[in-house]
């Protein structure tokens, strides 16, 4: 096991290095750079731009240096000082921007994750144990709708319905009067008034998929002979379900933890943009559009790193949870 962990860890370092290069290059792929957009935006707002201003800006943003120099400076600061650079758009260190947005992002992602699991597990198990019952059909239909409906559309429709019938407009997480207030119970209550919509909308797509997975896995398992044996032995029904088949059924969920981690940080960006949440997803979008390369590159880099770490964790969990999984030792690979 220890060997396995060390081997997995040593693969991660070149992986992360490659991700950092790709992240930096991808941001630069579209034509132009931050300044081309920035200057056009300034012109549109009425500022007279001349060559002096353009040259000064190019130098100020360090865009006059070759791209590999920019990359090495960026990497050097990350490794030596944990500094991800300065965002062009905000004139602020990238770490501060992410720090400001991270708590709200985590609250929403974790809440919607818990919501997903709390709803999906009971429904999935119920559907499997009561296969082809009216409720199973009902939930199946619902979950197919949930899978096929894009989250942002659901969010838009929900916002519209809410506005039309209650006159309450959800735009962001806080009402106007609380925006500038420090945290208090009233502010928390105000947030709860708004936060359920993103949680449900983000959750629903996940629920639908998860229900299908759990249902299918459970159906596979409960038909197996060990279940029949357990039942013949006279074990209570709940114990039969939860002790054995369910443990196997969670395997596919555990193996996707690798994607879970990055999605906690920037899950469902489109929904967040539609509901105007100040989370990391929309920041990534704005930064990419403006070619704010240190901000966008850093977020992509962090997400990539989180995926790598997530995959590592899910491998470990699977190995620990399911004794049937082997560590892929050398003899086997040789054959």
């Amino acid at each position: 096991m220890l060997n396995y962990i060390i081997r997995r860890l040593s693969i991660m370092i070149p992986e992360i290095f490659l991700i950092s290069i790709i992240a930096f290059i991808v941001i630069q792929l579209p034509p132009g750079d931050f300044l081309t957009t920035y200057i056009m935006r300034l012109q549109a707002s009425g500022v007279a731009i001349n060559q002096t201003i353009i040259d000064t800006l190019t130098r100020q943003y360090g865009l006059d240096r070759p791209i590999y120099v920019q990359y090495f400076m960026w990497m050097k600061n990350i490794i030596l000082y944990g500094n991800f650079g300065t965002s062009f758009t905000w004139n602020m260190p990238v770490t501060e921007i992410i720090k400001e947005r991270l708590p709200m992002t985590l609250i929403i992602s974790i809440a919607s994750l818990i919501f997903t699991w709390m709803v999906a597990f009971p429904i999935g198990i119920y559907s499997a144990t009561h296969q082809y019952s009216p409720f199973d059909h009902f939930f199946t239909l619902l979950s197919f709708i949930g899978v096929s409906m894009p989250g942002f559309l659901l969010a838009l429709v929900a916002i519209w319905f809410l506005y039309k019938y209650t006159g309450y407009a959800i735009i962001g997480l806080f009402s106007l009067e609380f925006l500038n207030q420090p945290w208090s119970f009233a502010k928390l209550a105000d947030m709860l008034k708004n936060v359920w919509l993103p949680i449900i909308v983000i959750g629903i797509a996940g629920i639908a998929g998860l229900v299908r997975v759990i249902r299918a896995m459970m159906l596979d398992e409960i038909k197996k002979q060990y279940v029949t044996t357990a039942r013949a032995k006279g074990l209570p029904e709940y114990k039969i379900l939860f002790k054995y088949p369910l443990r196997v059924a969670v395997n596919p969920i555990i193996s996707t933890i690798g994607w879970l981690l990055p999605s906690l940080v920037s899950g469902e960006s489109i929904v967040a943009i539609v509901i105007n949440l100040q989370t990391i997803g929309p920041a990534l979008l704005t930064a990419s559009l403006a070619q704010d390369m240190y901000l966008a590159g850093s977020i992509v880099f962090i997400l990539g790193t989180l995926t790598v770490i997530g995959m590592f964790i899910s491998d470990l969990l699977l190995a620990w949870l399911d004794p049937r999984i082997r560590y892929g030792d050398r003899q086997e690979r040789g054959s």
């Binding site: 081309t36 056009m40 935006r41 007279a48 001349n50 130098r59 500094n83 905000w90 004139n91 100040q278």
Partner: protein, 636 residues
């Protein structure tokens, strides 16, 4: 030299006299302040208002910030309230920026006259337009309470403009005659409040740089809060003390000037978070706020008062909510989170907002006009394609294009019929004449599809490449293509991203495009019309030619060289004099004869959201001008 000495002595005498009289007349007056500031004074956190205001505050009354014609019922306002705007950029709301801008000089609502001191108490221009003497208001203070003196001017000039690290290229605005190759200005500090700028060549247009007629000139280049900025400047602070800040931004010791440029928040950066804590002179200052809000709060040291001695601004705060997606705008507005905004109200949403004024809690104002022709069609006369050049440089072609545009219909479709024709460009619609001109040019032959054939025997194409910067731009291009096709010219359209657009422009690949056009409301400013100065037309090679004095780049065709020449001559003269009007006529003639660009309309109504009980709000004129004078607005 002697003459100069005499002139300056006389000036000083005049200044000191006026200063004496003004300070007497105001010293008996008691000033009043906003309740929130009075509270701070009571707690001992702020000095009393008399000590915060300069000895001679700027007095706002009828016709001072906005013309009497546009705002006949100016009244003394009352304190309180919050203005709220909305924006799509995370770092800039034009509404806020325009509201907090201050210039050294000003005129009512962007007109050319009367020119008066704003931040400056007084100014004097020598008869040859070479020497500009400016006196600051005695006792004027930065928003943190530190006095503004000519030391701030000296710092801005010596340590910023002349510092090769911070300013590698001395800006052309501050060179003799505004010429990129001209000699940089000279600064002389006369006393604590008076300074003198000298150019080697006549440069009357420098008044525009100081603030006349241009909202965006601002004081920043000549006046900086030196006490604040010195802590980031290696001349005044050792690098060891600056290093912690550098580390925070990931800069090396040699890059201290990058930190300085971030801390020296200039005009378009004013909404960014780096603006928090930087002393300014505007009516509101940037304060800390949540990530999705940009907030400004009243500046306790603001130097303007109303006729009854109430310190301005009347309104406590001005904030803007950032939305990520244009689709969120209607929801943000309908939910009542916006009460003062220009630019974010699309024409196709106006009726929706009007119907819901009750819910919004503010009204949609359709009385004020845009300060420029919203958009225009531009042709690049310097594109490398030889056939293209030959055709578009023929004035008959441009006349034909201009006559093919049905501006009445354009105005009806795009601006609900509120568009007014341009004062400067011919705007008759005459398809027959357009076709005749094109035939006369020798383009009478048609291809199989009925499109005109160019001089090279191939179908002549007129490709409009553009990026969308406003809600109706795509629609506008569709209409233009339709109009031009009626003359038999094969017009096409292609939308690209802003980035690609910029790249294509730099590579001189654009043939025709649409872009904003600052119309000739400031007619003496031909500068704005010069290719690539503010509008997106012409070849970058001409700019290079112009900037290098003809050493590099490419010489523009004769008729465009005329414009460069006209502009160079006009820059020498004072824009508020009779001579400027002469140049205005010359420029109008040049436009009529050459038709270099094709504005869709002259002006249109600029739809705005304003509080339904807003006081001192103009009933006519430019929307941006009314908003620029936000310090006199109040809630009734």
């Amino acid at each position: 030299m002697k003459k100069l000495l005499v002139v300056s002595l006389v000036l000083i005498l005049v200044f000191s006299l006026t200063l004496g009289s003004v300070s007497i007349s105001f010293s008996q007056k008691k000033y009043k302040e906003a309740p929130m500031l009075a509270e701070l004074v009571k707690q001992g956190k702020l000095p009393p208002v008399e000590q915060r205001l300069p000895e001679e505050p700027f007095v706002v009354g009828p016709g001072v910030l906005v013309d009497k014609n546009d705002l006949p019922n100016w009244e003394v306002g009352q304190y309180g309230g919050v203005f709220r705007s909305v924006c799509l950029n995370p770092d800039l709301d034009w509404n806020l920026r325009d509201a907090v801008m201050e210039n050294l000089l000003c005129t009512p609502a962007f007109k050319t006259k009367p020119l008066m001191g704003n931040i400056a108490a007084e100014f004097k221009v020598s008869a040859d337009n070479k020497i500009f003497t400016i006196r600051l208001r005695k006792g004027l203070k930065w928003s943190d309470g530190v006095p503004v003196t000519t030391d701030d001017v000296r710092f801005a000039y010596e340590d910023v403009l002349l510092n090769k690290d911070i300013t590698p290229i001395f800006p052309s605005d501050y060179r003799g005659a505004g010429d990129p190759g001209g000699t940089p200005m000279k600064l002389k500090i006369v006393d604590k409040y008076t300074f003198r700028i000298t150019f080697d060549k006549p440069y009357g247009r420098f008044l525009v740089v100081l603030g006349l007629g241009s909202r965006w000139a601002t004081y920043h280049a000549l006046l900086k809060p030196s006490h604040y900025l010195k802590q980031f400047h290696t001349k005044y602070t050792s690098i060891e003390k600056i290093r912690p800040y550098l580390k925070e931004y990931g800069y090396s010791d040699q890059e201290w000037w990058r930190l300085f440029l971030i801390k020296d928040v200039i005009l378009w950066d004013i909404c960014k978070e780096s603006g928090i804590g930087r002393p300014t002179l505007g009516p509101w200052v940037r304060v800390d706020s949540p990530t999705n809000v940009m907030a400004f709060e009243r500046n306790p040291y603001y130097y303007k008062v109303d006729t009854e001695g109430n310190q301005l601004p009347y309104v406590d705060r001005y904030e803007s909510i950032i939305v990520t997606n244009p689709a969120n705008l209607p929801m943000a507005i309908l939910s009542g989170k916006v009460n003062l905004n220009r630019d974010m109200i699309d024409w196709d949403k106006v009726s929706l907002y009007r119907e819901n004024e009750q819910k919004i809690g503010a009204k949609i104002d359709l009385n004020l006009m845009t300060h420029n022709a919203p958009i225009a069609l531009f042709i690049n006369y310097g594109n490398p394609d030889a056939v293209w050049r030959k055709v578009v440089n023929d004035v008959r072609f441009r006349k034909a294009i201009n006559m093919s545009i049905d501006r009445k219909q354009l105005s009806d479709i795009l601006y609900l019929g509120t568009g007014k024709p341009s004062r400067w460009f011919p705007s008759d619609y005459n398809l027959k004449e357009a076709n005749r001109l094109l035939d006369e040019m020798g383009m009478s032959k048609r291809d199989a599809e009925g499109y005109r054939i160019g001089p090279d025997g191939k179908t002549f194409e007129f490709p409009i490449v553009y990026c969308v910067q406003g809600g109706y731009w795509e629609r506008a291009v569709e209409l233009l293509v339709e109009y031009i096709q009626k003359t038999g010219i094969k017009a096409t359209m292609k939308m690209v991203t802003m980035n690609l657009m910029g790249e294509m422009q730099n590579a001189n690949q654009i043939k025709a495009t649409i872009d904003w056009l600052d119309d000739v409301n400031w007619p003496y400013i031909m500068y704005d019309y010069r290719p690539l100065s503010r509008t997106g037309w012409g070849s970058p090679l001409w700019n290079l030619y112009y900037a290098t004095g003809g050493k590099e780049g490419e010489k523009p065709p004769e008729w465009i060289a005329d414009l460069y020449k006209l502009d160079a001559d006009a820059r020498a003269i004072n824009p508020s004099t009779q001579r400027a009007e002469l140049f205005e006529k010359k420029f109008a003639k040049w436009i009529k004869e050459n038709i270099p660009m094709f504005p869709l309309i002259g002006q249109a109504v600029d739809p705005m959201i304003v509080p339904s009980n807003l006081g001192n709000w103009a009933r006519s004129g430019y929307a941006s001008a009314a908003q620029f004078a936000a310090e006199q607005l109040f809630f009734k």
